[in-house]
Amino acid sequence: MTTGLLIVQILNGLQLGILLFLVAAGLTLVFGVMDFINLAHGVQYMLGAYLAVTFVSLTGSFVLGLVLALAAALVIGLALEFLVFRHLYERDHLDQVLATFGLILLLNQAVKMIWGAAPLSVPVPAFLAGNIALLDGILYPTYRFALIGAGLAVGALLWFIVEKTRTGMLLRAGASNAPMVSALGVDINKLFMIVFAFGTMLAAFAGAMAAPILSVEPGMGDNILILAFVVIVVGGIGSIRGAFVGALIVGLVDTLGRSSMNDLLRLFMSAPSARAAGAALSSMLIYLVMAIVLFVRPEGLLPAKGRS
């Protein structure tokens, strides 16, 4: 593998990691602070993408469409919180899993009824179209650089909010010991709603940002949800820093594994068997990483303080 190709693959890994981080950050907060398993989180990613399709084509501007999509996603998220999730916080995990799984089926079908079953897309905004030339004349799409940049900016903003503001302090406290925070007189329901709104926005942002490079289709959130769960298990439940590190690890391992496993195995075996084994191995690589992390550090790499 040449240096140029390696750089491109690392960028690809970073970009997948950033996308995963945006989804996993909300998931880990909701799970960590509210002890609520929200399988429907992936659906919010999908909704973000679909809303972006609608608003970008309505307004003709990517930025304006993105802002409107985020606002609409927030409204839908809050409505869901009010109508469904609020009644599940006190229930046990099995009830939450069942109810939110039902919500996945319902919303996937609803999306299909509204937007149709065929995949849709959002055009890359004109000011981010084109490529940037890297070493060896290998090109890398400008939009993907923008996606990495936007993800890092959101990550920095999250870090600031969680580490430096009063709300963030309550969040961290809630992730460590929610009943104690409540006992200290904090309106835990309001805190939950903020957390939830935040998570929804992040997932919708990820979906909307992914829409120009990925196909927008019913069920697109289901795949990313599984990866997001891997991320929060690797990173440590309830920890934003953990989600960040976990997402980058999963993104890089998955991408580099897929691109180099064949060549690696070809050193030891014949081309056809390397191909078969490479395809199988590279798709299970991240789950191997998760299993190893669970074995060595069951609480994840960077768990929220006070959780065990």
């Binding site: 140029g4 190709l5 491109v8 995949p119 490079i213 289709e217």
Partner: protein
Amino acid sequence: MTLKLSLSLGAGLLALGIASAQAQEPIKIGVVSVLTGPAAALGQQLRDGFQLAVDKMGGKLGGVPVQITVIDDELKPDVAVGKVKSYVEGSKADFVVGPVFSNILGAIAKPVLDSGAFLISPNAGPSTMAGKACNQNFFVTSYQNDQVHEVLGKYAQDQGYKRAYIIAPNYQAGKDSLAGFKAYFKGEVVDEVYAPLTSMDFASDLAKIASTKPDVVFAFLPGGLGVNFVKQWSQAGLQGKIPFLSAFTVDESTLPAQQDAAVGLFGGMTWAPNMDNPQNKAFVSAYEAAYKIVPGSYAMQAYDAAMLIDSAVKAAGGTADKDKLRAAIKKADFTSLRGKFKFNTNGYPIQDFYLVKVAKRADGKFQTEIAQKVFTDYADPHAKDCALK
């Protein structure tokens, strides 16, 4: 009073009598298609294409009213078997038309054929049922699956390309696809990639393509996989630089999402919406008027399936005599939207195959268009394993 009553009663009875004399026993047709999940866009085309033909004939096929039951197979073989079995047993169906996917066909073929109904597949054409497992009551109005991939292999070979990069999803149909391509392409395969079926981002594969610089890329990436690949292909600046051949990757079901990114890319098919014959022009404009999208091969083949049934029922004078009906179906005496169409001994078509190219129409919609003929009167090689004559 009594007179009035009995008169009106008599009139009523008379009306009933007339009605029952008019109502022939309808032809019962089960349309099995995938209508939920990511593949539903294909299944809807199948269902709508068939319905369009029936509507055009005034709700009759061969002059006999039809009773259509649409069955959603959910792309789950176990679900499909259960639903189809209870349908064919409960309703004494004459025909079952469907499905889109070969694995569903494998599941429903036995219960349908055991019930005595004719099974007409408007899309799935597995090699097994073309060869040893062929059946006298099983007909295909699409193609044998391998043939579409072979079109691109043949074209790549004819063009004199030396180095090919080929990619497909990591499942049986993906392996069959690349094998089909390699059956005709004799040059060097620089890389043969099997991507996970859940792949979303092909950036790492595209980076490899950009650095290995093959003469040609062949991809079999159906549905959302193809949408992602083609969009990212264009974003990576590869559009127009490396010839892109594909099967089921750029078609009318994916073009609304791929749009400009797909223009100029090649596929293989037996037909395209711009095929120049009067029946096809009428079909495309009627389909677009009814469903607001450009029809793809799924709709075309289902439409042809309805026309096939129409011709056979007409020739056999109904559905009562199965042997007569079968002989009439084998004749394929209908005007196909493809122009030429005839059946081989195994119930699969013998027909022409084309290289098709994606183009943007004057009205801003996207469609595939015939670029050149690759195979003429192409029959699948599995027919020799079929015992039917």
